[in-house]
Symmetry: none
Subunit: 266 residues, 2 copies
Amino acid sequence: MSNAAAAGAQSTVQSVDRAITVLEVLADAGEAGVTDIARKLGVHKSTAFRLVAALEKRGLVEQNSERGKYRLGMGILHLAGATTASLDLVQESRPLCRALAAQTNETVNLAILSDGLALYLDQVSGSSALQSHNWVGQRIPLHATSNGKVLLSGLPDSEVARIVRRPLRAYTAETITAMKGLLAVLAAVRAEGHAVAVDEFEVGLTAVAAPVRDFHGDVIASVSVSGPTFRLDSDRLDGIVDNTKRTAASISTRLGWRASPTAKSW
Amino acid sequence: MSNAAAAGAQSTVQSVDRAITVLEVLADAGEAGVTDIARKLGVHKSTAFRLVAALEKRGLVEQNSERGKYRLGMGILHLAGATTASLDLVQESRPLCRALAAQTNETVNLAILSDGLALYLDQVSGSSALQSHNWVGQRIPLHATSNGKVLLSGLPDSEVARIVRRPLRAYTAETITAMKGLLAVLAAVRAEGHAVAVDEFEVGLTAVAAPVRDFHGDVIASVSVSGPTFRLDSDRLDGIVDNTKRTAASISTRLGWRASPTAKSW
DNA sequence: CATTAGCGTTGCGACATGAGCAACGCGGCC
DNA sequence: GGCCGCGTTGCTCATGTCGCAACGCTAATG
């Protein structure tokens, strides 16, 4: 039929494929009605409804009121928790991140590169233990964050130019918006072994990040410490940079970097 | 068959339902092979394979090696990011807090930990005319309030000792001022699942609080019911404790917390 | 070193299953 | 009141999906 929407690959199980599309539509739109979803899927209203109903029954989507729009549900969070729990990276780094958070009293994040954005995998809060917002699962731009710059620093310039989403949006007056400037900063990050972002993504937010490397030496993740700019003044910053770099190096070691390649293989 | 009440069991898209089961199996086991999954689903090996393949194509599951076991993938985290963006703590808890306020006719507060203090995020007043002042945005000590004790109960003792602001100031004659005593009370809070504070912060003010947990099971917030001590006598207190715990559990569920497998008492 | 056993993977035919249609109840909006 | 759009639900047909059996492969076993 008109299944040519996703040109190329043939779907293995049509219903499942469509159901996943429903989830992605909801992730993108925040919330949507059955009719909207059906339109975006290119299927009949009732088909979309049954898909949504199946997802809702298992808690992957929820509807706002008795008869209302749908949105992603808590079941997704169950799965997300299990996902990070099964990732070696998160498991190995968590105790070290916790220690870093305790030492600095600030929030520690672990991020990886994903589809031209930084994806936060884990977060440990500092003394202000429970932040109002949890970034895990969130994806943020690469050019405006310390984590993003570290992740980019592991790639050659040509690759950087390829994957960074353009134009480089200015989130604040401090945001780097020129590709040339970004590449210059990345060179510095490679040389220094860490990145800093002050008020670049959000005014009043400062972050420091350092690279996590796998046994090949490739940058696979980034560890950051972030907090209010007024609290991370230049006096503290040096110490935090050192701490962050040390933590990132320790995680890298755990992952087999510059160590015995005995990594727990499958 | 036309009965809508019992229709919950049916009206599902079989493939989607099975695919979700696959995800849950993987969430539970961490990783599993096609044969394992097929056994747990009670379907044929090839069926399980196709479901997994469909999920893999969209990034919801990944396989370890070229020919190996499967695990949950990064796609789940993308979805989770969108979920948390639309799942705001205050917004999710508000209707439940309102219901709690209506049932108890007392003031309901929602608080989180912030820099060694309890920060009030939301407040719903009971219908009682005697409205205490608005606490939203206020930050109050952890050791002298029911909310504070609940928030602390989610942390290990070492962490508690680290973040609580000392000395433990005595606001009233009932205030806990010894760290040892505080830790003992927190142990009780963890066991009971709720905290009570009578005249500890202010003479004549009684409050009951219960923990709100995220999908990891971590305590991220606290819900409290508070009012004049004379109105919250021991007769009413038990019922209010139950109500508060129930509300906190409901909010937790909305945030993706899976209720403990042990049977509930009520 | 040959053999076995178990894994993930694939072509195929039969049939259960999910798609589309049309109609219903309901709410908001001319 | 009448209209339009929403989410929801029987019904029927053919379509997409399942179970079977067989394959290539790896790794333990004799």
